[in-house]
Symmetry: C2
Subunit: 321 residues, 2 copies
């Protein structure tokens, strides 16, 4: 099994799932948000991990779907909270329908996610539910921290890593561990799968921050500095605030007030350059990549089984988009 | 066990539960909304049903709490959707904090509810989760229908009963069935408990509509006709539209446009009188009360065990507040 074959299998599973949902007002936004797509990365990771233990991964499909429905639920509610008009190039649910539809259909999706997780094999149902409960709550805590931090002037880089860990990385860890548990991995191996996912998730999120400032614009598919223009508190900006001297801080504060976007982006990028932010972020991405690989290597499976996950992680280091 | 002793036990269980919740931004609104109160009716019904089968009902406490947390979650999100400023005499969460806090803390409560339900005894975990999944989704469908119907001019009384069944009654059925299942009732008896709860729930909701127009103002604790003033589509109003002749319909439409609240309330109440709405609604409450009692009597338990539920149902028929 490859990651791509798992993603294709989950794309089909999503289509089948949406087809059997009852036709009612509540499910229209559910169909819409699920069909718009995304990479089906989380459920694919669940299948991939289960597939390292057994050739028949059909028992993993419903729990994998549960994580994809949950992920889309968080996007739906986060978009209301962030007042985001567009997601994946399409109007968000609260724009296309209205806010109440977005709240209520999101609630229904969270319930759908649990109903799917409840179809996990009996031998691991309570283990998977406990993991899912913990993860779902952490994702909410991460979103809360993200909103809190947007209003705070004193967020340090450790707090930022803690926030992205909760908001995005634990779900990747949960996805891998869910597959491993269904494959009846030992508790130690299941835990290593979890940590592999969490560390890769942190590396991916940091790389997102990195590429917005240092990516290849042709490959990223959008102009550089979008986060700077939006005033977003990325790892890069937080480290800049930590490392700059008084003069640089004054310059930074002025730049962040500057309504001329070109000047603002160029100025902040110049400060990143002065402070070695690019190199430092590359090192940190590599650090989390290596942590993930340590956990992956610790799993008691033959090396060739781990190849698709190693390839995914290595792609991360050379990715420029 | 009496209903009151169950309510008191659940009040204590709620207090203990809130005390052990971690202190964070996410849980502040959870504590607030749970502490404001309510009658703890749903979890009390769970304890009461379990108590008909065994003297130690401690295994029922967490699942009962799950239903109370879920109920409060629905109030929290419904209040955002309805733009309600006040709940139980206190500012709603979106008023006291803000809308984002209300959305996200509500999401956390739904997850908390599942985490509590997952602590049900192993012998009935998957049965209770399946029941809870179904019920939770139906409650969302009921809220969606409620919002749809507020915008529609063609809601008949069957649709209205269907909506209140989903929005409020199935959770009462779920509460009783959950207790019965924990008590290891037979599947048939568990189903009768469910139907007892659903039918009582419909009767209670109809009685709410009834008392707003025909209750004793001194005992109801607010002036009559609040629903008429708010233009709410109650059972009474829907039946009035179905039964009135053309002249009465013209009068009704004019009254519903009337901005003079006293005149509007008096006029609509007069129409209710002309059309026999009071008697018809009393009969319908009695009908659902009797259905509930039929299911209760069908349960294979000694009659004295059922006394607290019979008393609750009979109270309903004489209640004037």
């Amino acid at each position: 099994m490859t990651l791509d074959s798992c993603r294709a299998a989950m794309e089909e599973a999503v289509t089948r799932y949406l087809r059997q949902l009852p036709d009612n007002t509540l499910n229209e936004p559910v169909r819409y948000v699920m069909a718009i797509g995304g990479k089906r990365m989380r459920p694919a990771l669940t299948l991939l991990a289960a597939g390292m233990y057994r050739s028949d991964v059909s028992e993993a499909v419903k729990p994998a779907l549960a994580l994809e429905v949950f992920h889309n639920f968080t996007l739906l509610h986060d978009d209301i909270m962030d007042k985001a008009p567009i997601r994946r190039g399409q109007p968000t649910v609260h724009e296309k329908w209205n806010q109440n539809a977005a709240i209520l259909s999101g609630d229904a999706m969270l319930i759908h996610a649990y109903a799917l997780m409840c179809e996990a094999p009996a031998h691991c149902l309570s283990t998977l539910l406990a993991l899912f409960n913990q993860t779902a709550l952490q994702v909410c805590e991460g979103q809360q921290l993200d909103m809190d931090y947007e209003l705070s002037d004193h967020v340090d880089h450790d707090q930022y890593i803690g926030m992205i860990t909760l908001k995005t990385s634990v779900l990747l860890g949960c996805a891998l561990q869910t597959g491993a548990v269904i494959g009846q991995a030992s508790p130690e191996d299941a835990e290593h799968f979890y940590q592999t996912g969490v560390d890769l998730g942190i590396a991916f999120q940091l790389m997102d921050d990195y590429l917005d400032a240092f990516g290849d614009p042709a490959k990223v598919g959008k102009r550089l500095g979008g986060d700077i223009a939006a005033g977003k508190k990325t790892y890069l900006l937080i480290r800049t605030k930590e490392l700059c001297n008084a003069a640089q801080r004054q310059k930074l504060d002025a730049l962040l007030q500057d309504t001329n976007q070109e000047r603002r982006i160029a100025g902040v990028l110049a400060l990143y350059g002065e402070l070695g932010i690019q190199h430092e972020t590359e090192q940190l991405v590599k650090h989390y990549h290596d942590l993930a690989m340590d956990h992956l290597h610790a799993i008691s499976l033959p090396g060739e089984k781990k190849q698709p996950l190693i390839a995914l992680a290595d792609q991360l280091l050379v990715r420029q988009y």
